[in-house]
């Protein structure tokens, strides 16, 4: 295995984030703080507790998920799309690197960035709400796997996209609505019966529910359903990437 090659990609991607620290780190954290102020403090103070949890604390897992999912997709998609755009993928393809190693480098960096942002938001949330995490180890694992899976998804989007518009279509038009409607700010049982069933078609519901379970021990769906769903989602992303590299789709001529 070309460990130095993987590390080179990883380091390069991380350095790119440090060069654009405001965009990479400050911006998502600031956005989340605004959510805390608006939904947690202003509106949340007038809301009843949900499952014996204050509304401000209740939205913490949802807000973390919202941010890390978007950040994972954006970081990974831009990470691989930018070399495609400027033509430097030739370096990766002509280097003694396997496709798996290339994916580990890019997805690893995107995962690290999103995971770090998730932890920073978690720490920030303590400034606004009293929070007690019931299953901290599970929470960290679930967060890490979510970051990795959405980074894989972002990597796919970056490979498939032919221009910046396409790069933004999936995150803007598909992922953002699904995340917002996935129970970040409410539980599914707060919806009318029809919409409750409809919401279960949204894959993000299972992820937010699983993550919230690790905080409070309660979720919209049983935790095993969330875990199984997460594994299916991860497997689908890995299979698509495997196909892309096997066929060279949009990578090799």
């Amino acid at each position: 295995m070309n460990i130095r090659g993987i590390h080179a990609i990883y380091r390069y991607e991380m350095n790119r984030s440090f060069r654009t620290l405001i965009q990479s780190l400050v911006s998502p954290v600031l956005s989340t703080i605004l959510y805390f102020i608006v939904f947690g403090a202003a509106i949340g103070s007038r809301m009843d507790n949900i499952s014996n949890v204050s509304y401000g604390a209740f939205i913490v897992p949802g807000l973390i998920m919202l941010t890390v999912q978007m950040q994972s997709v954006n970081n990974a998609s831009f990470g691989i799309y930018f070399p495609k755009f400027i033509g430097t993928t030739y370096e990766l393809l002509s280097a003694p690197l396997s496709f798996v190693e290339i994916v580990i480098g890019y997805v690893g960096a995107a995962t690290t960035k999103a995971f770090s942002i998730g932890l920073i938001i978690l720490c920030t949330s303590y400034l606004f709400v009293d929070l007690d995490i019931k299953y901290p180890f599970f929470m960290l694992c679930f967060l890490l796997i979510t970051c990795m899976t959405f980074s894989l998804l972002g990597f796919i989007i970056g490979i498939v996209s032919d221009n910046f518009e396409q790069l933004n279509i999936v995150p803007m038009l598909i992922i953002t609505p699904l995340v917002f409607l996935g129970g970040s700010f409410y539980t599914i049982d707060m919806l009318p019966p029809f919409w409750q069933n409809f919401a279960l078609l949204n894959p993000i519901v299972y992820l937010i529910s699983g993550f919230r379970w690790s905080f409070f021990g309660v979720g919209d769906v049983p935790i095993f359903t969330s875990i199984i769903f997460m594994l299916i989602f991860t497997s689908i992303c890995i299979s698509i990437i495997w196909y892309i590299f096997k066929t060279g789709y949009k990578i090799k001529n």
Binding site: N2, I3, R4, G5, H7, A8, I9, R11, Y12, N15, R19, P83, I86, G87, T88, Y90, E91, L92, L93, S94, A95, P96, L97, G248, K252, N253
Partner: protein, 306 residues
């Protein structure tokens, strides 16, 4: 010299059914400079891309240092450095970081001494901390070469290295290439500039429509293909070519004040001595003579047309 690249029956067909390379065979010897000439779309870049791993192979076999470029891609790619046609560089990165990144991709440990020597050789040392975006086109081209050489490759592919480069820089590039050859690097370059091939290549290959039309030692090619022209200025004007000189296929020019005689230097006899002797016999006196040689460019055009 031993053989370092062996391309056997290579076929590259794209999804749209266009065949860019047709059953191509090519052997490249270690330490030589080989220039691949051909018009746009001839298949030169596709050939390089398949050897370097940028393009998949439809059929055929490519061996580098005796190893299959697909099965043993790690070992073969370690031996190769590639400078593509386009200036593809991360614009916001520092020169030194960009070159170090390339070396690391090849799994090599950092070697600051080597990288600094390389940058010095390519006249980039003073610019090592500059952001790539701030460099001129010529400097960017040098950075591309530095990146390709960052892992000490034995083989260097240069895809039109001097395209769009001014004359002075082009000459600098040639001296860099010659220096690399002296260090034992095998260099394969594609070019549109015949002059470039004539100046630096040991062997010349001509590709058109995905086929390798010929590959030959440069000197041999020029000798074999070149037709020299002997221009004879006469003391007295001729109206027609005398019967005794008809066998020489002379061409009267300048209203009969001169004629042209074409001969091939590759043949055992040029026929010049007998022409001059026959002229003397029938009393035609010459005033002056001069010769002109066919350039590689004319040979190239001739082969492509054929």
């Amino acid at each position: 010299m031993s053989e370092i690249i062996n391309v056997q029956n290579l076929v590259k067909k794209y999804d749209n059914n266009f065949t860019a390379v047709k059953n191509l065979n090519l052997k490249i010897r270690q330490g030589e400079i080989i220039a691949l000439l051909g018009p746009n779309g001839a298949g030169k870049t596709t050939l390089i891309s398949t050897i370097c791993g940028l393009s998949s192979i439809t059929s055929g076999l490519i061996k580098v240092n005796g190893l299959d470029v697909i099965k043993d891609y790690r070992k073969t790619r370690e031996l190769i450095g590639l400078v593509p046609q386009e200036l593809a560089l991360e614009p916001f990165e520092k020169v030194i970081n960009s070159v170090k990144f390339s070396r690391r991709l090849f799994g090599k440990k950092d070697d600051n001494e080597y990288i600094e020597k390389l940058l010095t050789k390519l006249q980039l040392y003073d610019k090592k901390n500059n952001i790539i975006k701030s460099l001129s086109g010529g400097m960017k081209r040098r950075v591309m070469i530095a990146k390709a050489l960052s892992h000490n490759p034995q083989i260097l592919f240069l895809d039109e290295p001097t395209a769009g480069v001014d004359v002075e820089l082009r000459k600098d590039m040639w001296s860099i290439i010659k220096e690399l050859k002296n260090e034992g690097v095998t260099i394969i370059l594609t070019t549109h500039y015949i002059e470039e091939a004539e100046m630096i290549a040991d062997r010349i290959g001509i590709i058109n429509h995905g086929e390798l039309l010929l590959i030959e030692e440069k000197k041999e090619l020029i000798k074999r293909m070149s037709v020299k022209t002997l221009k004879v200025k006469l003391k007295k004007t001729l109206d027609i070519i005398p019967t005794k000189l008809k066998k020489y296929n002379l061409k009267l020019i300048d209203e009969g004040k001169s004629f042209l005689y074409y001969y091939n230097t590759g043949k055992e006899r040029t026929g010049i001595t007998s022409l001059l002797s026959d002229m003397n016999k029938i009393g035609i006196n010459l005033f002056d003579i001069q010769t002109e040689e066919t350039s590689l460019e004319e040979i190239f055009v001739k082969i492509i047309k054929e």
